[in-house]
Symmetry: C2
Subunit: 457 residues, 2 copies
Amino acid sequence: MPVAQETEVWQKQTNELKKFLAIGDAKAFRSTFLELHNWEQAQFFLSLDQTERLALYNTLTTKEVGDLFDDIDDDQVQIPDFLSEMEPSYAAEMLTEMYTDNAVDILEHLDKATVQRLLARMPHKTAAEMRTLLHYGDETAGAIMTTEYITIVAKQTVASAMAALRAEADEAELIYYVYVLDNDHHLAGIISLRDLIVNDQAAMINDIMNERVISVQVTDDQEAVAQTIRDYNFLAIPVTDPSNHLLGIITVDDVIDVIDDEAAADYSGLAGVDVEAKLESPLKSALKRLPWLITLLFLGMSTASLISHYENLVSEASVLAVFISLITGTAGNAGTQSLAVAVRRLAFKNEQTSLLRTLVVELITGLMIGVVTGLTITVVVGLWKHTFVLGFVIGLAMCCAIIVANLAGSFIPSLMERLGFDPAVASGPFISTLSDLTSVLIYFSIAQYFMPFFINK
Amino acid sequence: MPVAQETEVWQKQTNELKKFLAIGDAKAFRSTFLELHNWEQAQFFLSLDQTERLALYNTLTTKEVGDLFDDIDDDQVQIPDFLSEMEPSYAAEMLTEMYTDNAVDILEHLDKATVQRLLARMPHKTAAEMRTLLHYGDETAGAIMTTEYITIVAKQTVASAMAALRAEADEAELIYYVYVLDNDHHLAGIISLRDLIVNDQAAMINDIMNERVISVQVTDDQEAVAQTIRDYNFLAIPVTDPSNHLLGIITVDDVIDVIDDEAAADYSGLAGVDVEAKLESPLKSALKRLPWLITLLFLGMSTASLISHYENLVSEASVLAVFISLITGTAGNAGTQSLAVAVRRLAFKNEQTSLLRTLVVELITGLMIGVVTGLTITVVVGLWKHTFVLGFVIGLAMCCAIIVANLAGSFIPSLMERLGFDPAVASGPFISTLSDLTSVLIYFSIAQYFMPFFINK
């Protein structure tokens, strides 16, 4: 069956489910609804109005609603509204039933008073666990890990480990890796369910477990965690503190969200706009894009006032105006390319390249690009305007402007990172607007110097 | 343990392993090497020179080398060299031992004659399977699926299914989902290992299996497959033909690679350069970036020649030159934003928005942005140059240029997609260079019309 959402069947089923809710036929609703995958349940839920949602809360158990909330995207802006329309004790119970990492994602989007109110209504142990998770820094391993994993001890047979696994399976988010702990809750080994299945049931865990456990630290950046899971092709990775106590695990589905979010952030940064995949209202789009545009407009004003400074030069040789946009445009393009490469390289933390080396490489690259582009334009302009002096001025200016734009494009993201910002906030539009300024300065300085040679055009 | 590669321990171990290879101590080499995770083995392998690699082939079995090749990134350019330095029969045997999808990824990067030579040396069944997989279109579900999955029939108990699973586990890439087939190889249901474990061993598969199987078609785009796995949080998804015969499965690790590749392609497109995470030599970088830059340079020349056409206007009112870069720059920025949004929206196939609706939304967005930005600059220029006529000319030109750039930014990627190209090839630099041309045309047309009113500045 293809993805349900697209089909007419889905449309029909949705309408039917809504009808059941409206007429209060709980039995019919439950029998159809609980057949759906959790993600489909979530999609259905998101299509309801408030009256329908209230009817749904009454028809389903907190566990069943928790299951669908596990599959609602955590950047869904309506979540706080959903929680506030539930009875507080119902909301607390539902959050308790959810996987801890997902519940914590939701709590992070609520105001502090509401969080306290909800935690107060949870079982003591769950509330304590969530409080701990809420304390981990944003975008760290701690913030995305879950505490629902299966642990066993090493001195037992596969058969007894399987029994332990069966007993705990209901609570765990992932049962395909089992973590082996010693007496002090240190992570001593790991064994996959695959190994438990294929090995002799009488074999001892400590003989077959993998002791070379790859783990991440609770304070590690989520991007580094994603990189490790991707490299090793794991389904999950354990998270430990510096003394190797097991604190939680991070599953591959959360890592996919991290990869997605980071890619979207890099992409949005390059474009100078927070890109959303959904079609938004024009007003919302405009409000999102205007701040950057207006900021850059004022940066652009300094370029304009610089040109204004050279207005006399332009009125003497109006041909200079002809090439302003060509030089600023080409340098801006080169700067954007170098920016994109720099941002992407910074995203891959395991490539440890020194800033100096990057700058040297980018300088030489810029030099090569500048010389080739400069020579090309020298010839083209020389032939077109029948003066190779002018061609040379344009070519030299373009070459210098490209080198400067290239350096800015690669240096600024590194600088941002060193100052503790996300390098992706150095946007493409920012670099090209900045490069307009330097390009114009370079262009008119060179033109002024060579003025005497081509004024008699 | 943190990721091995970064630690000194790793460096020491690598050196030790190389020493074992050099002195030909196969036993010592094997006992250390086979303790490593496959990905680490792959990293070690990639650090070897040819002599060392040849020694390694002699020391390890084809299965062991196949395991590490499973974890070499398929865009690793050296792979064809590795295969050509192996004995052909060794290479064929190694590919046979690998997971089919990974082996096919490698074959896709070899020339046809080599592929035929290798297939001829494989067992008949494997070669036939690989030939089929090689025929699926690039970037489709068929191209990334594997044929190593576990199937059972419905009319048996959990206990007998578990026995079947144990027997097949060694060959399968993923054993955590088991696919239930009917007599005609139709996909009739799916059951997770989790369900097999927690259910009563005497339960019948057809009572507990999930019959609402979410699957993808073999011709589906890989991006749509990735979206489905991500939405449903699956570890794998079955691939079927239109008659619902099971052809293969796609696992979550391959989906992560797809998400990565697509994100990198969108990102590279926006920047107008094929972005690689690794630091490349300046020459290589320059050669990669120059083609676009030179192409755009010639597009930029048409802007220059358009300005040249208006040179008399500029020499009469040199103040016009002051605002060229401000108008082209701002319109270019707006166009880049709208381009980024359009490309990203096209990437999410499940959002079915008509082109017309997108354009209308983008037109209204452009209008709002244009009016706000235009009014701002009218006031600023009016105050600065003490002439609100000039301010109005700049403001009006900027407003129109932004609207046009916005439309181009959202229309061109859609056009590309309709013509069968990847919308991401419409790069940011291309849109801003194109928008330079239209902006200059709009600017000077408006300026010429209003010329009489501000020439007496």
